[in-house]
Structures are given as structure tokens and as C-alpha cells.
Symmetry: C2
Subunit: 125 residues, 2 copies
DNA sequence: CGGTATCCCAGGCGATACTG
DNA sequence: CAGTATCGCCTGGGATACCG
């Protein structure tokens, strides 16, 4: 039985950087929020839109975003049941803020790829 | 020998969202960039500033950021050797863009925590 | 000081099967 | 349709030891 004396809690001081990272920093969270910008979507619709995501991870991610108040989950008592996911106002402000980052990426993607090539060539010499 | 027929490559179309996420979305990358905003720092200085990061991961992350052209690594031939890390202009524009997200987080942290409490209480009922 | 090399383990994720 | 449950692999990262 190990007692690793209190691993450093990265959330101490309620660090905003950590908070936002925890909402966005996985393979799929951002992609989901982005897809919802156009309006509510159903579970399997999102799943089809985002190729490669598994049912399990989609479910987990949606649940987490619902808990954070970023999206809503609405059940329609049709047969079979229909479930719609939609951005909340809070979630929408987040996607708008994130778009600044996306624009940065579009603008600087080539610079990064070029830097990588330079680095890798220097490394090969 | 399995051949999992081409797992979906999330980078297809050079997706900017994925690109930026790959630079920022680990526990430490953002924290490092943020620490460098005040000027160049040495390896162990960064390590002391960012409590909890291991030598290995710090090294890996710095290497990756250098490769991406976000930071520079300068070796001074002192004894023992001194190494300084500093933001490049590209890296600096990234930190500036990221600050929009940080401000969002500061502004909405309480809303998220409140949403979580609501969700958890409803769940407990 | 500023790393690299090695070992090792937890947990994240995909795959699969099942359900209301 | 919209999930949950279970299993098992794999890899990211901590711990430790060593090096120029």
C-alpha cells in the first residue's frame, strides 16, 4: 500500500487555465460543440458527423458537457425515443471564444508545419 | 497480426481545430507557454514553477513546442551548462490568443461549478 | 545543470454484447 | 434510436537510475 503523499492538485487556486482545458482538451469535446453550433442534433446524427468517435466516448463526453452546463439534453417521447442535444447560452459563448483559437490555427498552420520540417531536417543531419 | 484497416485520421483536411488542440491539449503545454510570457527561463526554473510536472514530461513537452516553432532553446556553454527557453513570435501570438479562453474561464468558472452542483443534486434525487 | 533510459502501472479507449 | 455494461489492450506518464 503506497501513500504517495498528496499528489499535486493542478486545480488548486481554481486555476482558470486548467478549468477550460478540462472542458476542451480531449479528442472530441471541441468537435462536438462545433457541430452543435448549427442547431440541435440527435445522438446518432452527431456520431455520424464525427467519424471515428465511439458510442461510449460520445456518450461520456455529452454527459460531461451537460453536467458543465454547456449543452442540454432533451428527450422526446417518440417511438423509438428521440434525444436532442443543443448548446446552452453558456456553451455558445464558449464556442465563440474558441473560434479565435481556430482562426489562429488556420492562419498559422503552415508556419507550424514549416517549423516542424526545419526541425526534423536539422535533426536528420 | 491485425490490420485495423486505416483508423480514421482526425487530421484529414488539415483540420485547424485538431491542430491547435494538439499543441495545447495536454496537462502542461499551456502552463509552460504561460510561464514563458515573462521572459526566458531555464529548465529547472520552469520545473520549479510548475509544481507536479515530471522531468520527463517537461522535457518532452518543451521538445515538441520547439519543434512546432513556438519556443526556442538556447544553450549557454557555462559550466555546468545552462539552457534557456523562450517564446518565439509565433508562440507569443498563441499565448495572446489563448488569453481569450482564459478570460472566458475566469468569467464563467462559477457558472460551470454551479451547473455541476445542480446536475449532481438532480442525479442524487 | 539539464537532461536520457528503463521499468512499470493505472486508466482511457475501442470492441462487443445487451437493453428499454 | 439511444444508450449501458463488461472486457481487455495499449500507451501516457510517474518513479528511479544514470550521464555529459
Amino acid at each position: 500500500m503506497t501513500m504517495p503523499e498528496q499528489p499535486y492538485n493542478v486545480y488548486e487556486d481554481r486555476c482558470p487555465t486548467r478549468l477550460v482545458l478540462d472542458r476542451l482538451a480531449d479528442k472530441w469535446a471541441l468537435l462536438i460543440l462545433d457541430r452543435l453550433r448549427g442547431g440541435p442534433l440527435r445522438f446518432n446524427h452527431i456520431r455520424r458527423e464525427i467519424k471515428g468517435i465511439s458510442q461510449k466516448v460520445l456518450s461520456q463526453t455529452l454527459r460531461k458537457q451537460e453536467r458543465d452546463g454547456l449543452i442540454t439534453r432533451t428527450i422526446f417521447p417518440t417511438v423509438p425515443v428521440t434525444v436532442e442535444y443543443a448548446l446552452t447560452p453558456l456553451g455558445r459563448t464558449l464556442t465563440e471564444t474558441v473560434s479565435a483559437l481556430t482562426h489562429w490555427a488556420e492562419k498559422n498552420m503552415d508556419a507550424i508545419l514549416a517549423a516542424q520540417r526545419t526541425y526534423d531536417e536539422r535533426d536528420a543531419s
